[in-house]
């Protein structure tokens, strides 16, 4: 195993503790980190090692080396050039602007209240601080300006009704937490077989393996639970006017869920149904929202859930549904179509789906009962009817999903 080589860049200049290039690269790494790159000590060390093999005065070579060592994904890869130009060539955005604008990116990092320099605190720490901290945490965005409009800064962002979130920074906070929730949900739904003493199937491999120690005779029988094939996810999102406040967030949330699932399909509907799976696979969230906005332009009129599901059942279901499909419908249930139509289509959907989950933001309001004809008609076909007005309600879904 190769030990990391000690890179020799010569003697540091007088008055400095390390060679200039090392300082410069470390600072560049910090700028990248502020811009969402995953860069730590190891990556910086790799970068320096790489630089040791080239002529560091050749900026082209340097760009190649640093880009390779310090990027981790396509987003980084694409952003890299601008940041490199700005830092090493003095072009483009001023350095100070990169650092501070970077801090408002999705992975916001809170500065320690002790005034230490930006050690990137882990997202878990942020979350805990917010729960415990109360007063100031939400108010202080990294740029230092307090914001109080809309959701009260003291409230735990996970409990705030999504419709009330107005400022982009708070939305980013929410999306950050949603990202982790999406990862957990994905983990739940894709667990492998587990050793289970009371399982129905005999685990041949373990049994044989253990039989070696009993002279080749399988005395101990190991069993396992039947392996569950992973779920396929199909999501329907209502983008009509009444859902407007929520659908923006849900598009981001679905975007994250889809990123985690290998095979998932997404559809939006209002007066009719459109598949948006490819649009939601777009990595860049802003671009994704733009593309979605273009699709829904010009849709108006009352929501027709039944019609939309009919389109799905007719044109897409055969291609998209497997025996282990989990259907998730996100809608407030307001429907201008005939309730019988909706009921009929839900029945057809239920025949193909393993489970149907309906998320309704209105369930979060106290006193709401699904009395609207549409919602009532759909209810018998739904396996899990849950509120979805804030992140906490979505988080509460997670254990439910495990039981499915």
């Amino acid at each position: 195993m190769a030990n990391p080589t000690v890179v020799d860049f010569g003697q540091p200049a007088r008055g400095e503790t390390e060679p200039r290039i090392v300082t410069r690269v470390s600072r560049f790494a910090r700028v990248l980190r502020d811009n969402g790159f995953l860069v730590g000590l190891q990556e910086t060390s790799d970068a320096l090692q790489g630089l040791a093999g080239i002529d560091i005065l050749d900026k082209r070579e340097m760009r190649c080396v640093l880009r390779c060592a310090l990027s981790s994904n396509k987003r980084d890869w694409v952003k890299f050039d601008k940041l490199f130009d700005a830092y090493w060539l003095g072009r483009g955005a001023r350095r100070s602007r990169i650092a501070s604008s970077g801090a408002m990116q999705t992975r916001t990092r809170e500065r320690d209240s002790g005034g230490q320099t930006s050690r990137p605190s882990s997202p878990i720490e942020d979350y805990l601080k917010r729960i415990k901290g109360g007063g100031n945490d939400g108010a202080e965005t990294a740029s230092g300006e307090g914001r109080h409009a809309g959701a009260s800064a003291a409230e735990n962002i996970a409990d705030v009704d999504i419709a009330r979130i107005v400022e982009p920074e708070r939305m980013d906070e929410l999306v950050d937490l949603a990202e982790r929730l999406a990862a957990r949900i994905r983990f739940r739904l894709s667990r492998r077989r587990r050793l289970d003493r009371r399982g129905r199937q005999i685990d041949i491999r373990r049994t044989l393996h253990s039989s070696v120690s009993t002279g080749g005779t399988p005395i101990r029988l190991f069993r396992r639970r039947r392996r569950k094939k992973p779920f396929k996810l199909v999501i329907f999102l209502d983008v009509s006017g009444s859902m407007d406040q929520y659908s923006r967030f849900f598009m981001r949330f679905i975007h994250l869920l889809l990123g985690a699932f290998r095979s998932a399909d997404a559809f939006i509907f209002h007066t009719r149904l459109v598949e948006v799976s490819t649009v939601l696979k777009e990595r860049n969230p802003e671009k994704m929202m733009e593309r979605l906005a273009l699709i829904v332009q010009g849709w108006s009129g009352g929501t027709r859930i039944g019609e939309s599901l009919a389109i799905f059942n007719r044109d897409h279901a055969r291609r998209v549904m497997t025996s282990r499909t989990l259907v998730m419908i996100v809608s407030d249930g307001f429907d201008t179509g005939a309730p019988e139509k909706l009921a009929g289509e839900m029945a057809r959907l239920q025949r193909r789906a393993k489970r149907i989950i309906w998320l309704n933001p209105l369930l979060g309001s106290q006193g709401y009962e699904p009395r609207s004809a549409g919602m009532a008609a759909a209810l018998p076909y739904i396996d899990l009817f849950a509120p979805a007005h804030n992140l906490s309600s979505l988080a509460a879904l997670e254990p439910e999903l495990a039981r499915i």
């Binding site: 195993m1 190649c64 880009r67 390779c68 491999r205 070696v212 990123g259």
Partner: protein
Amino acid sequence: MMQRQEQIQQQLDAVGYVAAPQLAMAIAMMDQLQRPLLLEGDAGVGKTQVAKSLSEATGRRLIRLQCYEGLDSSNAIYEWNYQRQILAIKLLESADMDMADKESHIFDDEFLLKRPLLEAIMLDEPPILLIDEIDRADEEFEAFLLEILSDFQITIPELRTIKAKSIPSVILTSNGTRELSDALRRRCLYHHLDYPGESTEIRIVLAHYPDIEIALASQIVRFVQAVRREDLQKNPGVAETLDWAGALIGLDIKDINHDLELLHQTLMCLLKTRADHEAMAPEIIERIVGKVA
């Protein structure tokens, strides 16, 4: 390392793989820093081919682990050959040996089935280890992989800890169908591979079909690149370009403008789904040919 980068470019070029300087640098760094290289990009841009070409160019052995959902350590690292072990036990039953000897006979190298990851570290000459489509495996597998890629040693409880005889060059490829874990991304050097530019792709066609007319090669590449800009379900990759070029050469077509109907029939090389075939109606083909020919 600069020389190494140029050398790699030349070596790959010699076997028909046209690599951009950035990619050659990534490979050079992979070797020098002994870190795995993660290659990400759309299907068909040539990620898997890099490893194959590198193996061909350098003469190093290529060990390939094709990932899939449900891949686990017994398929990827090692497994005991239970059937033979049980046979051996039966045979040993009557033999006059003491227990410890019998046991060490059973748990011996000869009963160990070496899967790709174990094989890759047991060679005298460092091989190229291609871990293909890591995004098709699951997170659990990524964790196994990370351990191995950090220490390059594998512990087999009944046997011993096997330390690497040589450190392989590791290339991982991903189509981006799911998000890889941060830990894996940090462990690896990264390179995002896009479709080649026009002149590069023409060079690739020329490298594979040395006798083709440059004018035809140019038409072919420009056509395919235009098709990639249409919103197809499955974008044609570099392999498809080469297939199509081969088909056109075989049919003795010198100019794609010449017989549009025949051309349309050859498009099965580029269009792989029914929806795409339907989307590329004759009028659209005609329009594109008009632009590039």
